[in-house]
């Protein structure tokens, strides 16, 4: 059941990215090019995505548990840490350099697999670096 939910969510998410033009790094970069030839499309995508999610959060408050799990597993909403700020700042730099964030990079495998693979492989190395740094050292 959970796998079906994951697949359905991923399918619709990827389809939405394709419909909205977000698989095109030139368009995404156009949104970030505030002082150049600005392309507002991404703002409509974010705004559109927030409508069903805002409703979902209202529904979530009235549910004791999700459909296919015993509990909701939700992150904290409060602590603003240097790690959060630094990480987000870095992410924005990479987003600006490549015109890609993780969702479009993975969905773009369907359209432009070679380029998507370059970005995604490098991104996985980034994941691995943080994962390795976060693991407590093993004492012999």
């Amino acid at each position: 059941m959970r796998t079906v939910i994951g697949l359905a969510s991923g399918l619709l998410f990827g389809a939405g990215l394709a419909v909205s033009g977000m698989l095109d790094p030139v368009r995404v970069r156009g949104f970030l090019d505030l002082f150049g030839v600005w392309d507002p499309t991404l703002a409509f995508v974010m705004g559109g995505a927030m409508i069903p999610m805002a409703i979902a959060w209202l529904v979530q408050r009235r549910m004791a548990a999700p459909v296919a799990d015993a509990d909701f597993h939700l992150p904290d909403t409060n602590p603003i840490t240097p790690r959060l700020l630094g990480g987000s700042a870095l992410f924005g730099i990479g987003w600006g350099l490549g015109g890609l964030c993780p969702g479009p990079a993975l969905a773009a495998f369907a359209i432009n697999p070679a380029a998507a693979a370059v970005f995604t492989a490098a991104m996985a190395v980034g994941f691995a670096i943080v994962w390795a740094l976060d693991r407590p050292p093993v004492h012999a």
């Binding site: 994951g6 389809a15 507002p40 559109g48 509990d71 909403t77 970005f119």
Partner: protein, 143 residues
């Protein structure tokens, strides 16, 4: 509205993305954050059950392929050098894991939840994204 903008497609695609995230939240009780799910799927992160993360991540290109099949070619231009693309991917990988999320987890799911963390994170990556493109353009490194 400039003629190259796609407000209608953007809004429709956005509604689809938001509905996808709502399915994940109400169905599996998790945040549909792509960076977290991707790391989890390849064993470089904790959180969601691995099969859930894998199914979600595999769904992304399948959904895009479905749209391409039904609606025709999808534009996906990569005019930058492969070196710049790789550097961008590496920075995105490190940044999203340190910052606990990206455009989907913080931007869509967290902002709509009015999460303070996510609002601050989104404003931060938007700001450095704008600044990066402006600086890269100014020094002639744009593409």
């Amino acid at each position: 509205m400039p003629d190259y903008a796609m407000p209608v497609q953007g809004l429709i695609g956005g509604l689809m993305i938001g509905t996808a995230a709502a399915i994940m939240l109400l169905g599996a009780g998790r945040i549909a954050g792509v960076s977290g799910m991707a790391a989890r799927a390849i064993g470089l992160g904790g959180g969601a059950p691995r099969t859930l993360a894998l199914a979600f991540i595999i769904g992304l290109p399948l959904g895009a392929a479905l749209v391409a099949w039904l609606a025709g070619p999808i534009l996906s231009r990569f005019p930058m050098s492969m070196a710049m693309l790789a550097v961008a991917g590496l920075i995105v990988g490190i940044g999203t894991r340190l910052g606990s999320g990206c455009t989907s987890g913080h931007g869509v799911c967290g902002m709509s939840r009015l999460s303070k963390r996510s609002i601050v994170a989104t404003c931060t990556f938007m700001a450095t994204g704008f600044a990066t493109v402006a600086i890269v353009n100014a020094v002639g490194g744009g593409w």
